[in-house]
């Protein structure tokens, strides 16, 4: 009776999860999302894969529609305590996310930044570190530089820090806390 958008189906979520794992393992590499929602923001594809009733989400930039919350079945939370924070990358970051603790560095936030474009744009990033053979370049459009400055502070006390997932209207890339980022 009900026709569910494919992003809510386990088979598609498995594919997206695999793509996210690969994005984290190979920082800066852009992955084309297998499926985007027929109705709603593209980031829903990612959120449908990552979120459930056991984690918390903050949406300080009001990027989600009211109906999206009930579909995601995720709890809302203040930004400073959220497991996931949905961000507009064009706007300035105005919060301090969870950075984890030494016994539990995994209890930190994952920031999902919606950018205008991945693989193209005026900002050129040189990435190095685990998962990158030497260096790799990532072009981005619609990412305020302050995000990268703040990130540098947040990941300074490794293993504490945050992981970033960048998403545009069809691709996803990741910047885990271990990646060194230089703006060219």
């Amino acid at each position: 009776m009900l026709n569910l958008d494919p992003i809510w189906l386990p088979a598609v979520q498995q594919i997206h999860f695999r793509q996210l794992l690969d994005a984290m393992a190979r920082p800066g590499k852009c992955h084309l999302l297998d499926s985007v929602p027929g109705d709603g923001p593209v980031v829903l594809s990612l959120l449908a894969t990552l979120l459930d009733a056991d984690v918390t989400l903050a949406d300080p930039y009001n990027l989600l529609r009211p109906g999206d919350w009930s579909m995601l079945q995720v709890k809302s939370c203040p930004t400073e305590r959220a497991d996931y924070v949905l961000c507009d990358a064009r706007q300035l970051p105005e919060f301090l996310p969870k950075l984890g603790t030494l016994p539990c560095p995994d209890q930190s936030a994952t920031l999902i930044l919606i950018v205008s474009q991945l693989g193209q744009g005026e900002m050129s990033l040189k990435l190095s570190g685990p998962g990158i053979a030497d260096t790799v370049k990532l072009q981005v459009k619609g990412l305020d530089q302050q995000w990268l400055s703040n990130r540098e502070v947040w990941v300074r006390a490794f293993p504490l820090g945050v992981d970033l997932i960048l998403i545009d209207d069809k691709q996803v890339a990741a910047l885990p806390r271990t990646t060194r980022v230089e703006i060219l």
Binding site: M1, L2, L4, W8, M71, Q73
Partner: protein
């Protein structure tokens, strides 16, 4: 009409084909949109033991749930939901649709009401049958008191 909390239980007594056939007919020209992802899985029955008051899982049971929004072809909008002990999502979806139809008297609600009354009647029959079985196995423990007194005297 009976309390809304009894509808799902009563409608779930009906043969599956009858329920699914009716909901398919009702919704053929409607837009049915999920408000949350319909799911079927297992629920764990958690209890506390009487000795140490520690939690343990008595067992598991199948559960399916659905929450939907219905828009009819004449522009009426309504929400319905159902949680049922079953492992089939389509049953939960059908019951949620019936819940929406009955609560908001959407077109076809009279047919659903007839099914509801049939389900309530079936449920009452089951209740009476169980009551009879319990009565037939009832043990009169008061006779043991007489036996205990006799031993004390001797």
């Amino acid at each position: 009409m009976t309390d809304r909390t009894t509808w799902v239980s009563a409608l779930n007594m009906l043969p599956t084909d009858e329920l699914l056939s009716l909901t398919a007919q009702l919704s053929c020209n409607w837009t049915v949109r999920p408000m949350s992802v319909p799911q079927a899985g297992l629920g764990m029955l958690k209890m506390n033991d009487s000795a140490f008051d520690e939690p343990f899982y008595l067992g598991e049971f199948p559960i399916a749930s659905a929450w939907i929004e219905v828009q009819t072809n004449n522009g009426m909008t309504a929400e319905g939901a159902a949680q049922v002990m079953d492992d089939r999502v389509e049953i939960a979806e059908a019951l949620a649709l019936c819940d929406a139809v009955l609560a908001n008297q959407l077109p076809g609600w009279e047919r659903v009401t007839q099914l509801l009354e049939k389900g309530l009647s079936m449920r009452e029959d089951v209740r009476l049958e169980r009551k009879q079985m319990l009565a037939a196995t009832h043990v009169d423990f008061s006779l043991l008191d007489d036996v205990g007194d006799e031993h004390a005297e001797s």
